[in-house]
Amino acid sequence: MTETFVAVLIFSLFMTFCFRHFFIQLMSLKLLLDSLVVFLVSIRNPEASSLGAQMAIVLVSSLSVLVFFILMAAGTQKFAGTKASSLEVRGD
């Protein structure tokens, strides 16, 4: 199961970096965020307490969700009016 989650994390990173399409990158980033949250809160030694991880994940996930939704709104507004199709910044 751990290997599966690591594979999902790597897959979402790969999709984010290697596909130039705003919709695909948006969904990949959300998949990365979800899998990272679940991975961080669930991975531990069997005898360790999960309270610290739950506390950290509440803070990290709430801030990252806020930043992600602001980015998503800004990206949707930007790409709706242009012909660009990815989050990649171009120099021209």
Partner: protein, 133 residues
């Protein structure tokens, strides 16, 4: 319905919902529900953008990135195997979590909320309304 971005995006959506379902099954009810709602919202926004923007080009670039990413994933799984860490069911304890956050990070929460308030006030002061001609 048949264009590649839609099929790929729908597959990613189903995968993300599976991850959220795993969180729900592992005992993280609040986190699972919030993540699922967020996933549906992101997919809906993306579909609306896809329909209106109607971009059918899907570019694949930098395929070599899979090599360093694969190495990183292999190393990460080996480290987790050595440290005997596993994915375990985590029953949510919102009462204790909230109490501990409020006692240990109270000053941090106040500072973050003040920063958010100031940033929203600043952003709203920078907004301009375009008058119709």
């Amino acid at each position: 319905m048949r264009n590649p971005p839609f099929i790929l995006g729908a597959s990613l959506f189903i995968l993300a919902l599976t991850v959220d379902g795993w969180a729900l099954a592992a005992g993280l009810s609040a986190v699972g529900v919030l993540l699922s709602v967020g996933t549906v919202l992101v997919f809906a926004v993306g579909i609306i953008w896809l329909i209106y923007h109607d971009d059918r080009k899907l570019h694949f670039c930098r395929g070599w990135v899979i090599i360093p990413l694969g190495l990183f994933g292999f190393a990460l799984s080996k480290v987790l195997e050595k440290s005997s860490a596993q994915l375990l069911p985590t029953p949510e304890n919102l009462t204790d979590t909230g109490e501990r956050i409020m006692t240990q990070f109270q000053l941090g929460l106040w500072i973050v909320s003040l920063l958010l308030l100031f940033s929203f006030v600043l952003a709203s002061s920078l907004m301009r309304r375009n008058r119709a001609k």
